[in-house]
Symmetry: C2
DNA sequence: AAAATATTTGGCTATTTTGCCAAATGAACA
DNA sequence: TGTTCATTTGGCAAAATAGCCAAATATTTT
């Protein structure tokens, strides 16, 4: 794998990696319903504000969400809605795996 | 976020996390063209066989690929092709970010 | 200007991930 | 059976990630 191809896959992995965390997946899904400020997300997630802020920073650096300061609050928005399509596929991976588990059990 | 919801997002994150690595993204894309054995993938990636084997194991545990031993070789297949849709979206995240960068430069 | 509220950043530790080497296992073949 | 080839596993060290607290910054309010 040459350097150019390597760089391409690294860029792609950065985006996917940014989504690869329970809280960050939650944030993405929540923002798909409309913008939310840090305090609202923190409340829902139930972690330290600083932790949530860092999760938001990861998603923002990856270009998945964008921020908008309005007064004391910062509102976050989903910038690329197509990431929502991930969920359907992830669900089907889970379903496929579950079905296979079932098949294995039936054979017993 | 209650325990049930937490568990759901953790399960989802496990799948996405399994894809969140340059080599593993490469493997997924490569397998979309048809099955490949470990030695072929190792050759293409250019890392240690044991490293590639572990990447494959991560993808298999997540239920994204499946293995089939035929003689001395083990062939891997993409089990859930919808993960390929990720690429298109990832590309559009990259593109959107690039466009924004360009806008910022124009203002200078 | 001081106090209060919202958010980010720095710093630290604990945990996880990565990637190599060496060793073990599985299968084909002389 | 012993040898060779393909793959996996164990183990280790380096690097990255996660989450909390404390401190800094930004904004509004008193």
């Amino acid at each position: 794998m040459d350097a150019k191809k390597q760089a391409l896959y690294e860029a792609r992995a950065r985006i996917i990696k940014a989504m690869a965390h329970p809280s960050r997946l939650f944030i993405v899904e929540e923002l798909s319903r409309g913008e939310k400020c840090v305090c609202e997300l923190t409340e829902m997630i139930g972690a330290d504000v600083s932790t949530v802020s860092k999760h938001l920073s990861v998603l923002r650096s990856a270009g998945i969400i964008s921020d908008d300061r309005r007064g004391a609050q910062v509102y976050y928005t989903l910038r690329v809605p197509c990431v929502l399509n991930f969920f359907g596929c992830v669900e089907s991976v889970l379903k496929t795996t579950a079905k296979e588990q079932l098949q294995l059990l039936k054979k017993t």
